[in-house]
């Protein structure tokens, strides 16, 4: 999933300050799973903003709405009938959601309430970890399903570096050394042979070679 975290309210307030009628729009997909942009978080943020405007004597209208997905037109369309009633949309979608809504409603002001962070996994309740960079050239098959691009601080394809000690990353002792994981998992599988060859330089053009990427599938089009 795409993970995100709420921006500080002070930053959000600054962005919505010029507006009187505000629609807080959540997304029921990834950001709901990571408890940053679902219906409940929309409720919390809208409530906080309403209280803040009341306490400072401002006459602001703040309403709530949550779409199942903010990055797909069919769901964004739910906004069509209401969007004209507001001065601004405060989106709790990920960066993709914010931009998708903006594209559908070119004249509507839309600002983000979240900082989109990473592609990750819900490791346990209340803990999300980054484990994919979307590099476009997955090599997990060589690395016992531990991504060195994402989970090694230096992104080494031929690790480990000289800093790993007692299976912790030298950069952040809270983080396990990805290469320790790779080596021990491959050892358990009897596949240490996979580490004998030198992995050649990665093809980053699949990630950022020509600017933003797209996937085009003729068979999926109507």
């Amino acid at each position: 999933m795409i993970t995100a975290e709420r921006k500080p309210i002070s930053e959000i307030k600054e962005m919505i300050a010029p507006y009187k009628k505000i629609l807080v729009v959540g997304c029921g997909s990834c950001v709901a799973e990571c408890a940053s942009g679902g219906e409940k978080e929309v409720g919390l943020l809208a409530s906080a903003l309403r209280m803040d405007s009341k306490a400072s004597g401002k006459d602001v209208e703040i309403k709530e709405m949550t779409l199942d997905r903010q990055c797909v037109y069919e769901f964004i369309d739910q906004l069509t009938d209401v969007v004209d009633q507001y001065d601004v949309i405060l989106s709790l979608g990920c960066g993709a959601g914010v931009q998708a809504v903006a594209e559908v409603f070119p004249k509507v002001h839309i600002v983000p309430a979240l900082n989109t962070t990473f592609i990750g996994q819900t490791k346990e309740a209340g803990l999300w970890i980054e484990n994919c960079r979307g590099c476009g050239d997955c090599k997990l098959g060589f690395f016992a399903a531990v991504c060195p691009v994402t989970r090694c601080a230096k992104g080494l394809f031929n690790g480990p570096c000289g800093g790993s000690k007692t299976d912790r990353c030298e950069v952040d002792p809270d983080v396990p050394c990805a290469w320790q994981l790779i080596v021990s998992r491959l050892e358990d599988m009897g596949r240490l042979d996979l580490l004998c060859k030198v992995h050649p330089p990665a093809d980053w053009s699949k990630q950022q070679g020509k600017g933003p990427r797209k996937i085009y599938r003729e068979d999926q089009r109507s």
């Binding site: 409720g43 409530s47 906080a48 009341k54 306490a55």
Partner: protein, 141 residues
């Protein structure tokens, strides 16, 4: 502050395990204070959600209590611990909009259950207020 809590709008979320007769026990106080006190019994304090606390504040509460069962006595093992985390999170949220974190307070019921929710609430009402009327209702009330 020399004011007592009694002058404020109070919301009390509480674990109903602490007082099996809460439904009866709280009636007198509710009649006495009307809208100034609101009780929200929960099957377990662990069911409390930040959103409940925010809604209580937004609808005019000056002070919100969450009363949990005593430490180690949670019927659902660690519901009271969860309640503590939710309260802490929500305190952080309201502090971001300039409200005092103390407007939310977690109280653990004294050991030796059951207690009488009415007595517990009266104790809270007669204690020194740590906060005054909420600015959220002040401007519009």
């Amino acid at each position: 502050m020399d004011q007592k809590n009694a002058g404020l709008n109070i919301s009390i979320f509480f674990c109903q395990q602490i007082d099996p007769n809460q439904d009866v026990n709280r009636r007198a106080l509710e009649r006495e204070l009307g809208n100034r006190i609101r009780f929200f019994p929960l099957p377990c304090s662990g069911r409390i959600d930040s959103l409940h606390l925010m809604r209580a504040l937004e609808s005019g509460a000056d002070k919100v209590y969450v009363i949990t069962c005593p430490e180690g006595a949670c019927h659902y093992r660690e519901g009271n611990m969860r309640a503590r985390k939710r309260v802490a999170y929500t305190q952080g949220l309201i502090e971001e909009i300039g409200l005092e974190g103390e407007r939310l307070e977690l109280i653990m019921a004294p050991a030796g259950l059951p207690v009488n929710i009415d007595e517990l609430a009266r104790d809270l009402l007669s204690s020194e207020a740590t906060t005054g009327p909420s600015p959220v209702r002040g401007k519009t009330a």
